[in-house]
Symmetry: C2
Subunit: 157 residues, 2 copies
């Protein structure tokens, strides 16, 4: 088990692109959820995981992640996910001691770009590069499930 | 991924006890569910697993099971399960080429006894020892989640 402390922002410009050091392709599907958390299957390049995330408390949430066989993840994404499969490219953008992750969605959430930063503790000050826009941590409309249903009902994100 | 083909019965007598070769203690909690399936965490003696079971088609369902660290399973059972934790002793009762599993529940489902048999194919004939009672495969009231809510609302099982 790990504790994930994460803050989430929109992007204000495309200047992050100048500082990318690496990127990965992600496919991500929600297998099941309850009021206590969510179970997701995820393929990151050629690696597959199953992740259980607890409910958020402040900026933190408990996270359990296990590597699973790639072919199981493909079958889970194909046959056992409750909603749409999310596809995105994650770009890694170092800044000081931390690394921003900029998620550029394709597929059903095409056009959505979210910058996230994972912190070693809740009270760490975040140095925001100029391309980082407004913070949306904890905002309901930027939860994946709500972005999906907004997109499915034709709303602008 | 495995395909689980299972039939489920009540017991007609306690004669199965004479043929038990082994037993294990199980604790089992539902982490989350959707119409496509369920995610459960399970501790069997000193081993812990995370299992995803798909919806049932006939007698079969897809099953994905992964071993996880014991301490993760304890935390998942304690903090991330949506309903009550089921506790049972599973007794293994060989009969011919197959092995019956007799689950004797304790805790919230105390008094419930279910005999299950896992089959290598759907069309395998099952030789029923005299202690095996009526078949309840696929019957809604014998799904764990329904037995639990019946018990919680004070109904006889």
């Amino acid at each position: 088990m790990a504790v994930e402390i994460e803050r989430k922002f929109l992007v204000a410009s495309e200047c992050w692109k100048e500082h990318v050091v690496r990127s990965v392709q992600l496919r991500d599907g929600l297998i099941a959820s309850s009021d206590r958390g969510k179970v997701r299957v995820r393929i990151i390049d050629d690696k597959a995981t199953l992740a259980i995330k607890g409910a958020r408390t402040g900026l933190s949430r408990e996270e359990y992640e296990y590597e699973i066989p790639f072919e199981d993840a493909v079958a889970l994404l194909d046959r056992h996910c409750a909603g749409a499969i999310l596809e995105k490219t994650r770009f890694f953008v170092p800044n000081g001691d931390l690394v921003w992750e900029v998620d550029v969605y394709s597929g059903i959430l095409s056009g959505v770009v979210i910058a996230e930063i994972e912190l070693p503790a809740e009270n760490i000050a975040v140095d925001r590069p100029s391309w980082v826009g407004i913070e949306v941590t904890g905002q309901e409309e930027y939860r994946k499930i709500n972005m999906l249903s907004a997109r499915l009902s034709g709303k602008q994100l």
